[in-house]
């Protein structure tokens, strides 16, 4: 399998601060479903931002599909869902408008939507189960529905790599269950590479093939069932 994401001896620190990550070695193959866990402040979001080229490593290198992550040319197949708190705009944006945003990288800066784009948007909305709410204002939907609207945006881009940052934060158990089932279907049906970053996994845990635990560096990388018992202790994982 080709390598989607690769870290080679990566360390990172913000200017004037202690290192957030040290000597990270990581390879994610195309088509993997990987959970990245760790305590708040442990560096998992920084790891994700490095993987996407939003930050540059202090030392080492990060490759995305074989190119330096901050200089990747083929970006339209990469979909990123930041933490939900960062996804709020003041204007009443509808589910369809959010999903349409996902087509912009495919269509170009000046482009309007064509029939193929509209079909991809409708399909993405249907896949997340929001067809009945396509013209509803996102802010007036439940937390779980809002989360699925933004996943529809990612799916409309027809991504090869889907990166989610804390998608289960602030949503109830039913919504987490629905999200887990949705991601599992995407992974199975579309062979999308998924990086799922969270300090809690809930229902998703049973679907991931690989767990990467981050605490200033990678302290565990493997099958979730092989995670040492000590790491299951919330007081241990949550600092």
């Amino acid at each position: 399998m080709p390598i989607a994401v690769e870290f080679e001896g990566v360390s990172f620190s913000y200017p004037g601060s202690r290192p957030v990550l040290r000597d990270v070695e990581l390879q994610v193959e195309q088509g993997e479903f990987v959970a990245i866990a760790g305590p708040n402040g442990g560096g998992k979001t920084t790891l994700l931002r490095l993987a996407l080229g939003l930050e540059r490593p202090t030392s080492g290198k990060v490759l995305l599909y074989g190119e330096h992550a901050d200089r990747v040319h083929r970006r339209s197949g990469i979909a990123y869902l930041p933490q939900r708190a960062q996804l709020v705009i003041d204007a009443p944006v509808t589910v369809r408008e959010v999903a349409a945003v996902g087509r912009v990288p495919r269509r170009g800066v000046l482009g309007g939507l064509r029939a193929g784009d509209r079909a991809a948007i409708d399909e993405a909305i249907a896949r997340v189960g929001l067809s009945a709410h396509a013209d509803s204002v996102v802010a007036r939907l439940s937390g779980g529905q809002q989360q699925r609207a933004f996943i529809a945006k990612a799916l409309a881009a027809e991504p090869d790599l889907l990166v989610l940052d804390e998608p289960t934060a602030g949503v109830d158990a039913d919504a987490q269950e629905a999200l887990a089932a949705l991601l599992e279907r995407l992974h199975r049906d579309l062979a999308v590479t998924i990086l799922f970053v969270s300090h809690e996994f809930g229902a998703v845990e049973r679907f991931v093939e690989r767990l990467v635990l981050v605490r200033g560096g990678i302290v565990f990388d493997g099958d979730p069932s092989k995670l040492p018992a000590a790491w299951h202790d919330p007081s241990h994982v949550h600092l």
């Binding site: 990469i78 990123y80 930041p82 705009i89 204007a91 944006v93 408008e97 349409a100 945003v101 933004f150």
Partner: protein, 270 residues
């Protein structure tokens, strides 16, 4: 006498029509990015531009246009390159602009009523040359927003997501800042440098209270901006008031009315 019998009122309404639509259209994207106050910062730089025009004896509108666009792009550059936080970048330009304006105005000996017409707007001072400049830049600005609409919405909804997916966020932000600078420069004759930022923000937040989508918010805010300019100009004509203040008070009134209507609509829906 009818309001449209005088040449200066026809010029003021024609200019105001462009300003009333352009300011909220640009302001929409600034409000979504939590940059509602950038118009104030650019306005103060435009004041320095006007003063420079007086000092050099050339068109104050032209020098204000150059100063506004340069100021807006500088704010965006400072913010994007993390040379200063957004509010610090604004403060830096805000105070430097007003200080430079005061120094240049006093050097030009131009502290007079004509200068105040730029600060607070005037329906008497719009020339045919101003109208041509406003129409060309205003229609160009609206056309650019229409072309970039989907990309600008993408950045407003999720800037990091757009950057990761390869949307040229930096370029779009600079273009938006440049558009804000153009809007300030073309609007200052009618609304005034000190009040134009309000016309970029108030119709947008009023429209957000009653709109049902991004697209409807933009069109509704443009309609409210247009109405505010027309009503404000009419009131200022008959009551002999400064048009900038009248226009902004009408826009503020539209916000109060829209908030009431929005509350009623949500009450019915629930």
């Amino acid at each position: 006498m009818s309001i449209f019998e005088t040449d200066f009122m026809r010029l003021a309404f024609a200019t105001g029509a462009v300003v009333g639509m352009l300011a909220p259209a640009v302001g929409f994207f600034l409000v979504q990015r939590r940059m509602s106050l950038i118009g104030d910062g650019i306005g103060h730089v435009a004041f320095a531009g006007v003063a420079l025009g007086y000092l050099l004896g050339i068109s104050p509108v032209a020098t204000a246009l150059v100063a506004s666009v340069a100021g807006a792009v500088t704010i965006e550059w400072l913010r994007a390159n993390r040379r200063a936080a957004g509010d610090q970048a604004l403060a830096l330009l805000f105070y430097t602009g007003i200080a430079a304006g005061v120094v240049l105005v006093s050097a030009a000996g131009a502290l007079n009523a004509n200068l105040f017409s730029f600060l607070f707007g005037s329906i008497l001072t719009v020339t045919r040359g101003d109208l041509v400049l406003v129409v060309v830049l205003g229609v160009g600005g609206l056309g650019l927003i229409a072309l970039l609409y989907r990309s600008l919405v993408a950045v407003a909804v999720d800037e990091d997501g757009a950057r990761v997916a390869g949307v040229p966020v930096g370029l779009l932000n600079v273009l938006l800042a440049g558009l804000a600078g153009v809007t300030i420069a073309v609007s200052m004759r009618i609304v005034g440098i000190l009040l134009i930022a309000a016309l970029m923000v108030l119709p947008v937040i009023a429209a957000s209270r009653v709109a049902w989508s991004v697209r409807s918010t933009i069109f509704l805010s443009m309609a409210l901006g247009l109405a505010a300019v027309f009503v404000g100009l009419t009131v200022s004509y008959y009551a002999d008031l400064a048009p900038g203040g009248a226009i902004v008070l009408v826009a503020a009134g539209s916000f109060v009315a829209a908030s009431g209507v929005g509350t009623l609509l949500r009450g019915r829906a629930s």
